[in-house]
């Protein structure tokens, strides 16, 4: 007895098999004459300088983090969306409060500038210099 997920597994196996076979058939037909120039990294004819495996822009990491939060919360919403109608307005409110909390979090990120691609500089702290001076003096 094959379950529905078993059929999906067969689909994935078929896809893997198709790619392997077509690459293998092409391998039998194609020429293979590697030369030094062919095996260089392709960068529009320029000589490669350094490795690309270096530190990358931190923005991508922040996007991934925000995505993770949203994704988890939406996955939590799916069971709620299945059943909320049986609880009437109360069931709706539970989900709505959850969503509004999520929205507030998003508004906070927006305000902090985490949704901008080039993040604006942090606002300067308003320090009362006179007061600071007095505190230092009294110590």
């Amino acid at each position: 007895m094959l379950t529905e997920f078993g059929k999906i597994f067969v689909f994935i196996l078929v896809a893997i098999f198709f790619v392997t076979v077509s690459v293998f058939v092409a391998k039998l037909l194609r020429p293979s004459r590697p030369t030094y120039e062919k095996q260089l990294t392709y960068e529009c004819g320029e000589d490669t300088i350094g490795s690309p495996w270096v530190q990358f822009n931190i923005r991508f990491y922040v996007v991934a983090l925000i995505f993770l939060i949203f994704d988890v919360e939406i996955v939590l919403l799916i069971p709620w969306a299945y059943v909320y109608k049986t609880f009437g307005i109360g069931g709706y409110l539970v989900g709505a409060i959850f969503l509004i909390l999520l929205g507030l979090g998003m508004a906070y990120e927006w305000r902090k500038g985490d949704l901008e691609w080039s993040r604006p500089p942090l606002p300067k702290l308003k320090v009362n210099k006179k007061k600071l001076f007095q505190i230092e003096k009294s110590e």
């Binding site: 689909f11 994935i12 198709f18 062919k38 392709y42 996007v63 994704d71 919403l77 969306a81 998003m106």
Partner: protein, 357 residues
């Protein structure tokens, strides 16, 4: 059901499932890619007042076959600095991820690869494999263009998954099912029963739903456009700056696999939009098979309708490609996080209220 037919024919479920998994590949994805590649070149040519391919066959109709013959014979160049195991696995992952989506798409009422009751959820989950494949391809190529392209592509794919998911949850709130087959059957009847016209809701709720469904459709269409890396969201393979993005280093058959996966994905996202909002395989005006009393004609008609609706959306994708300029990366992120997600968010809350009426 075609699956039962094959089970009787071959006598075992395993072989029946293998045949039913091969069907969409050979009867749908490959012919579709063949035609769509040519169509894309012809459409783009005529939009720009050119002729496009004209040499191979009548008006170039055999051009794609010639391209495939060429790609099979091309040498497979693997640069010395590549990470070879990852470089070879990446096309497999990308294609497996895009083809697995077809398992849950109902092509007609008598064919669906796997009738799981979490269909939509599964589709969104499995298409995450494509992101891994793309990142793997970009990283293993050991090339600055590919890595930049892969990073941008991954950031874009995961960002635009959120508006898509939100609209999916909205649909789930109205229909109460994630099974694509049931979702389609819920929209049966004439075209005013499609989700874009409020589905099976009655009275005032149906009228109230229509504007929010149209907003939902626009949001999900824009975000699926971004998920397949099509223009105006093609910064990941921007030809003028990144050569061709994450598959710059690939040649020969492996490049062809990436290309095939891209076209398979184009149809898959259009199919999802069609199933969610435009009644899937259902005919808007009734069936010829019913009138003539030929029950076997109905699935064939349904397949034709499904293909027609899906290809119509693919054509809109091509049209947009030659109409809109490419977006900058910050504009891309701004559209997703500052416009689509808040709109989808408010849409979800209001639709939730309407369904309680």
């Amino acid at each position: 059901m075609i699956f039962d037919f094959f089970t009787k024919l071959t006598g075992s479920e395993i072989s029946a499932s293998i045949i039913s998994a091969l069907l969409p590949l050979f009867l749908f994805v490959l012919p579709f890619a063949l035609i769509a590649v040519l169509l894309e070149r012809k459409v783009s040519a005529h939009i720009q007042d050119r002729l496009g391919p004209m040499r191979v066959g009548y008006h170039g109709i055999l051009q794609t076959l010639a391209d495939i013959l060429k790609l099979i014979q091309k040498e497979d160049i693997i640069a010395d600095s590549n990470d070879k195991p990852l470089f070879n696995i990446a096309p497999v992952l990308v294609f497996a991820g895009s083809y697995a989506v077809f398992a849950a798409i109902p092509f007609t009422s008598s064919y669906i690869g796997s009738n799981i009751n979490l269909g939509l959820f599964y589709i969104i989950g499995i298409s995450g494999i494509v992101v891994i494949g793309i990142l793997m391809a970009g990283w293993a190529s050991n090339n600055k263009y590919t890595l930049l392209g892969a990073m941008r592509s991954a950031a874009q794919l995961i960002s635009y998954e959120i508006p898509t998911l939100m609209i999916v949850v909205t649909i789930l709130m109205i229909t109460g099912t994630l099974n694509l087959n049931e979702l389609t059957e819920m929209q049966s009847g004439f075209f005013w029963n499609w989700m874009i016209f409020g589905g099976q809701a009655t009275g005032i709720a149906k009228i109230l739903l229509i504007p929010f469904m149209i907003v939902g459709f626009v949001v999900i269409y824009i975000s699926t456009l971004a998920e397949v890396n099509r223009t105006p969201f093609d910064i990941s393979e921007a030809e003028s700056e990144l050569v061709s993005g994450y598959h710059t280093e690939y040649s020969g058959m492996k490049f062809a696999i990436f290309f095939l996966a891209e076209y398979a994905n184009m149809f898959a996202v259009s199919a999802i939009v069609v199933v969610l909002f435009f009644g899937g395989y259902l005919s808007p005006i009734g069936y010829l098979g019913n009138t003539l009393g030929l029950p076997w004609l109905i699935p064939v008609e349904q397949l034709l309708w499904f293909t027609f609706k899906g290809v119509a959306f693919v054509l809109v994708q091509m049209w947009l490609r030659w109409t809109l300029p490419r977006l900058r990366v910050d504009q891309l992120m701004a559209i997703c996080w500052k416009y689509l997600i808040p709109i989808a968010f408010v849409n979800l809350l209001i639709v939730g209220l309407i369904t309680l009426i």
